[in-house]
């Protein structure tokens, strides 16, 4: 993966830039020695490392605004960073860029039960929000697997998902408002405790923009009352096709479970070896179906789901009868990544989405690719919404295996797009999938996205090198070829 070539003029001006930043923020907020900066040299995509030019850890929104404006005036790039858990390399530093860490923005500002929202600084963790409101019986719904560590500001940047998206949506469906600082140093409020925008939905645009449009300094999220009951069902199938059909049949019957997770045989066995969750080792596919809500409803619908999966060919069905049992059902799924880590020195976690009906075809293709690349793959799958997480097993100590694993991963994502799906369901593009963007988008699709970027940051100073494979200059993107007075389509039917 190539990053944009570092600007030598900026590297040469490093002392002056560090000194300049220390005039804007207190000196203790600037880290410029290698040992302190080392902690910031990668994120969740840890195969890639890069020391930043300098690290700035501001303490106030005014400081963020001052740093951004100063960097804009000086032509210095910025990489914003929350907790640094991005799996796509969204927070990987640039050698010639300031790493702007929001870790000190770690306070919850307002808990408002009556309006069912929490106003928080962006450095608070996803789970930290739930912890702040759980004593009153509330929680924050989106639950990315890194929720113990990932920050809510990073969740906004990545539009993070989780296992309960089918029913509760992604981050974008659970955010009411944000405060952002633009590259110009303007502090803008989008949304708030009220619903919807009275103008262009810039809140929706910012969510999932991967730190390329602005820096989030405050967040207002919706909180929900914790469901009265949660119960899970563990269902084994002889084929992935039957399991996929069972998922479709449940949804076609009008039931939207809180979560529907699928695992294939390699993932089932790795998980079973690791935690002994009681999964059926002889199953080719395993479904975990979780329902939540009022107790009578959950019990009533689970009976329906039980009938549906049985008539779809289930070979084993188990229902959780206690919270302990439910957690046990989930234990294997939740430890799938470390479980795979145990049977292989390294693994790559991919993140494509396909139309659910394409699952059998995708699994067939994946088996063929596994043969072609000579690498094993285990699959966990957010089956309800078609989000696939193939884990490619490899050994980085074997020369060429990382590259082969990456090529395998790219092939999987290309196949996702060919089958009508997308490159990323929840991990983001970052640097990981940047060069695959033309698989899914035309030149003009990408140019229009970059024109939007230009409306926020015309000099490409905010997180450059991420998301877009080619950086077009904004002046070039804005150019239009209009022949004045010359009608390009004289044969067009008109009236």
């Amino acid at each position: 993966m190539q990053m944009p070539k570092a600007d030598q003029m900026i590297l040469d001006r490093r002392h002056m830039i560090v000194a300049g930043l220390k005039r804007i923020v207190p000196a203790h907020c600037v880290l410029d020695d290698d040992s302190s900066m080392k902690a910031y040299d990668t994120d969740g995509l840890s195969a890639y490392r890069q020391m930043p030019l300098v690290v700035v850890l501001p303490e106030t929104t005014a400081q963020v605004a001052a740093v951004l404006k100063w960097c804009r005036d000086e032509g210095v790039k910025i990489v914003p960073r929350g907790a640094g858990t991005s799996l796509s390399g969204g927070a990987i530093p640039l050698a010639d860029g300031v790493l702007l860490g929001l870790g000190k923005f770690n306070q919850i500002i307002d808990i408002d039960y009556e309006n069912r929202c929490v106003v928080t600084q962006p450095g608070v963790t996803n789970l930290g929000i739930t912890h702040a409101v759980q004593d009153e019986g509330f929680y924050y719904a989106p639950d990315p697997s890194s929720q113990i560590a990932c920050s809510i500001g990073g969740n906004i940047a990545e539009n993070s998902g989780g296992v309960h998206c089918l029913k509760y949506g992604l981050t974008t469906n659970n955010v009411l408002g944000i405060e952002i600082v633009t590259m110009d140093g303007d502090i803008l409020r989008l949304g708030g405790k009220h619903l919807d925008a009275g103008a262009l939905d810039l809140l929706g645009l910012m969510t999932g923009s991967e730190g390329l449009l602005g820096v989030v300094t405050e967040v207002t999220v919706r909180i929900l009352r914790k469901p009265a009951t949660q119960r899970a069902m563990l269902v084994g199938f002889d084929t992935a096709q039957e399991a996929g059909q069972a998922v479709s049949n449940v949804i076609a019957a009008g039931i939207i479970p809180a979560g529907m997770e699928m695992m294939d045989a390699p993932a089932i066995n790795a998980a079973e070896d690791f935690v002994g969750a009681g999964y059926p080792r002889d199953a080719a596919a395993l479904l975990i179906v979780e329902l939540d809500g009022p107790e009578v409803e959950v019990n009533f619908l689970l009976e329906r789901v039980g009938d549906i999966v049985k008539s779809s060919g289930a070979t084993s069905v188990r229902l959780s009868h206690s919270e302990e049992e439910r957690n046990q059902f989930w234990a294997g799924r939740k430890s799938a990544f470390p479980a795979v880590g145990r049977i292989s020195p390294d693994y790559l976690c991919m993140d494509g989405t396909i139309p659910r009906k394409a699952l059998p075809e995708m699994l067939t293709r994946m088996a063929m690719m596994s043969q072609k690349y000579g690498l094993r793959v285990a699959n966990v799958f957010h089956a309800g919404d078609g989000n696939l997480h193939p884990l490619i097993l490899f050994d980085a100590n074997q020369p060429g295996e990382l590259e082969r694993a990456e090529e395998f991963g790219n092939d999987i994502l290309r196949n996702c797009v060919q089958l009508g799906g997308v490159l990323t369901g929840e991990h983001g593009v970052g640097i990981e999938k940047r060069d695959l963007m033309p698989e899914m988008f035309s030149d003009e699709d990408l140019r229009q996205q970059q024109r939007v970027k230009c409306a926020f940051d015309p000099n490409h100073l905010l997180n450059p090198g991420k998301v877009f494979p080619v950086l077009h200059r904004c002046a070039e993107l804005g150019r239009m070829h209009v022949h004045k007075g010359e009608v390009p389509h004289p044969d067009l039917p008109r009236f």
Binding site: G204, D445, V487
Partner: protein, 392 residues
């Protein structure tokens, strides 16, 4: 000046390129049922999209429907109801408000981001547009999003299109997430002594685990149901056994706010459609406003406005959406001052004569830096301002 009536996306592109070449501004419309919403525009020509209609694919078990943008909303709703599914954001049927013969198209609905009573539990129109293809004001075809439910690849331009009032690009194909329709519903009616009490009951209902799908407040005298009391209406939807169970729990919990009554499925459905449509105030004044605020601010907001001008009103979204009808030409000042004083939000003039819509801001005025950013984003799609100029 010639008008355009494309029937394919290629013709749409050619139309926009011609308009660009001829410096022609375009009024983007299909049924023009929402021409009364937004600032009035006077354009050189009409871009009539009614040729871009029809459902392209509908896969109930994938929870996805793809249609051309000018497909009538009614056609979409009929197709979905045949499979016991729905547009979960509960689109308003705007013929009530604008006295049109038609409820408009799916594209017009998305472009105005209108959502009804279920907004408070299920999200807005903008939460359900998964992807689209369109021709930008630059005359170029582009697409964004996808036909799958979970996607974070590239910027989420679907969000921008929703509520852009046709000022960025002209959509052709739209892909929308749909959900199963509830098997049954009931409405719990609580008669309260005061608006404050009714607001508390409404917010209390949403704080329970009993999952109301919609919560409205009818001030005293505003509706046949609320002739002698302020009424809080709480809708429960789902399978019958669950609706009955939740209703009995909520009746018990909320009984302390006032007398409770139950409305069954059929009248309940008609009631909530009328609340989504703005029907209770549709004939109570020439101006209709829709004001979005924090739910706790709602009751005080209305009292503040009523102390300055005469109006009829009710609340949806547990107090977070105020529907208001008035004939007072100065109402916009009172509404926006009160909103500002009570924590902010946005007030939209949903219906008024052209002259008034020309003289006062239809949408909430923005601070200069935000307005400038909005303008730059708009320019990034339509640099020459040929699409519905000035409507937003």
């Amino acid at each position: 000046m010639s008008n355009f009536a494309p029937s394919t996306i290629t013709e749409l592109k050619e139309a926009l390129q011609t308009a660009l070449a001829e410096n022609t501004t375009l009024s983007v419309q299909a049924t023009a049922t929402k021409s009364g919403l937004g600032a009035p525009v006077s354009c050189d020509a009409t871009l009539d999209l009614s040729g871009l209609q029809g459902i392209i694919s509908y896969e109930p078990e994938e929870l996805i429907i793809t249609a051309h943008a000018a497909t009538p909303l009614a056609s979409i709703e009929t197709a979905l109801s045949e499979k016991h599914q729905m547009l979960a954001f509960e689109p308003p049927h705007i013929s009530t408000l604008y006295n049109t013969s038609h409820d408009g198209t799916i594209g017009g609905l998305l472009a105005t981001n209108l959502s009804g009573s279920r907004r408070v539990s299920a999200g807005a129109a903008r939460d359900y547009l998964l992807g689209f293809d369109a021709v930008s004001g630059r005359g170029e075809i582009f697409r964004s999003g996808s036909k799958v439910m979970k996607n974070v690849t590239g910027y989420d331009l679907s969000k921008l299109m929703c509520g852009s009032f046709g000022t960025l690009a002209v959509m052709d194909e739209v892909t929308i997430k749909v959900l199963p329709a509830p098997e049954t519903s009931q409405t719990l009616i609580i008669g309260c002594a005061t608006l404050e009490q009714a607001g508390k009951a409404a917010r209390h209902a949403l704080q329970t685990a009993y999952e109301p799908s919609a919560v409205a407040i009818l001030p005293k005298g505003s509706h046949p149901l609320s002739q002698s009391m302020v009424c809080t209406l709480i809708r429960l939807e789902g399978v019958a056994v669950s609706v009955a169970d939740r209703q009995s729990h909520l009746s018990e919990i909320l009984g302390s706010y006032g007398m409770t009554d139950i409305m069954d499925s059929a009248p309940s459905q008609a009631l909530w459609q009328s609340l989504s449509d703005g029907a209770p105030v549709a004939d109570k004044g020439n101006q209709i406003w829709r004001v979005s605020c924090a739910p706790t601010a709602g009751p005080a907001l209305l009292q503040n406005i009523q102390s300055h001008c005469e109006c009829a009103a009710y609340f949806d979204w547990a107090g977070g959406l105020l529907w208001l009808a008035t004939d007072d030409k100065e109402a916009h000042r009172h509404i926006r001052q009160a909103l500002h004083a009570l924590g902010g939000g946005h007030a939209t003039l949903m219906r008024a004569d052209e002259e008034l819509r020309r003289t006062i801001p239809v949408f909430e005025p923005q601070d200069p830096a935000l307005a400038a950013l909005n303008k730059r984003v708009q320019n990034s799609f339509d640099p020459h301002g040929i699409l519905n100029p000035g409507r937003l």
